[in-house]
């Protein structure tokens, strides 16, 4: 039997993986600061004896689409939208530094400042803890300001400054927890020029039209490979017929 079916099967597996990546993008169309995954197929050549006639397809999520999402005004003091391509530093579950664009900040029961998905936000001095305060606000340059309980509202005090970083010049990749990390380890340097807008929130950057086109594309690619598999089966059937001894 022709080995064509294995080549097609690799492409079908790829199309299904691409479909899952697109489905995940669409499912996260409302997740604040979400960055769409970009899936792409790569050819894998098998070294033959004389000709290279088999290119297996291997699907991979190359990277995240880093274009900015739309920013909406929410009026909530702890919502921050990051300017440009800067990222917010957070602590991952393993305790190391990771980055996100998610800016719906919360104050946990312990006073810890976290993102909407519960990652502790890092400041210049590690995770930021907010003491009892009448008002918490975040200035344009990322300073976390509070008016202490019973304090003078016109004299806010600085607690810490959000560690805003710029990924320019470094390769970053999305990890299994959806956070960005520097490829090969390490941390990004703090960017003093990074700015945040308080009271605004960046939405997911998933483009529904792009995702729908990707979806149709992957569906058609799947069908096409399916055709090849059935054609290979027909060819194989035909040659088997030739071999059949006359009765």
């Amino acid at each position: 039997m022709d080995r064509l079916i294995y080549t097609s099967l690799s492409a079908m597996r790829g199309a299904m993986a691409r479909q899952q990546a697109t489905a995940n993008n669409l499912a996260n169309a409302s997740t604040p600061g979400f960055r769409a995954d970009v899936a792409e197929a790569q050819a894998r050549w098998l070294e033959g004896q004389s000709v290279q006639d088999r290119a297996m397809a291997a699907e991979s999520v190359i990277n995240a689409d880093m274009k900015p999402g739309s920013v909406t005004s929410t009026g909530r003091d702890l919502d921050v939208a990051l300017s440009g391509d800067s990222l917010l530093s957070v602590q991952s579950a393993e305790g190391e530094e990771a980055y996100t664009r998610r800016g719906d900040l919360q104050i946990a029961a312990s006073g810890l400042l976290t993102t909407g998905d519960g990652r502790p936000v890092l400041g210049d001095g590690g995770p930021i803890t907010i003491p009892a305060a009448d008002k918490v606000s975040i200035s344009q340059d990322g300073k976390v300001m509070i008016v202490p309980s019973g304090g003078d509202p016109s004299q806010p005090q600085e607690v810490d400054r959000l560690k805003l970083v710029s990924p320019t010049g470094s390769a970053i990749a999305k990890g299994l927890d959806g956070l960005f990390r520097v490829q090969g380890g390490g941390a990004l340097p703090a960017d003093p020029d990074a700015r945040v807008a308080s009271g605004q929130l960046e939405a997911s950057n998933v483009s529904a039209t792009q995702a729908l086109v990707d979806m149709i594309d992957a569906g058609r690619a799947w069908d096409m490979q399916l055709k090849l598999v059935t054609s290979a089966r027909d060819l194989d059937g035909a040659s088997a017929d030739l071999m059949r001894l006359p009765e």
Binding site: Q19, S60, G175
Partner: protein
Amino acid sequence: MTNQALQVARSGLDAQNRRMQVIANNLANVNTTAFKRDRASFETLAYQQMVAAGAASSADNKYATGLNLGTGVEMTGTERIDTQGTMNTTGNALDMAIDGGGYFQVQMPDGRTGYTRAGNFSLSAEGTIVTGEGMPVQPQIQVPQGATSLTVGADGTVSAVVAGQSAPTELGKIQTARFVNPAGLQALGNNLLVETAASGAPQAGAPGEDGRGSIHSGALEASNVNVVEELVDMIETQRAYEVNSKMIQASDEMMKNANQQF
């Protein structure tokens, strides 16, 4: 072979459906005194690692990029957006709005203290200041029979002209409570919130002090739901739901074709 794309799209449908419920509840409470709108909060589910970047693809080669597939989304909670609602003047002295932070304290039937910003109070048959559901405001204030010209000051002082006297008499002081993390209060319905481990302990005291807002008598705080904003969110949710259902259709079509042709 299970089709993961189907499950991922389903997670999207579930999340958008629940978000719609949050929006519906906001819209339903557009006229509820001092109602605070909720916002749905989404989180990505963990990614599945199919191929690790840097793993060996052969004896000499390594994969330059990995294959990490996302597994969908989850609505993890709702956040109460505690912005101030607008003040509507009613002229009724027992209608009170809080300008700034803080909550009125009321005694719930189970003995716990409930916190509310809905200040549409009235008098019980015994002359106690109570909420619409008849729960007494804490500390309890008794208005004697036949009292006239009831007034409530910005600091919560309730005074009235008692029958047989010409000068107003102080009847008591309404206290309000504030919390370190008001977003951590748990909503019970009936406009009531209760303290949780996340909200911290109540800090009760005179209104207008230590971050507690002052009381505006003769006014009610309106709901902070902005109908236009909710409608935009509603359309966005509906569209997101639609694209996810399209994805279910497309994935189903793929499996259908495979089943028919193999």
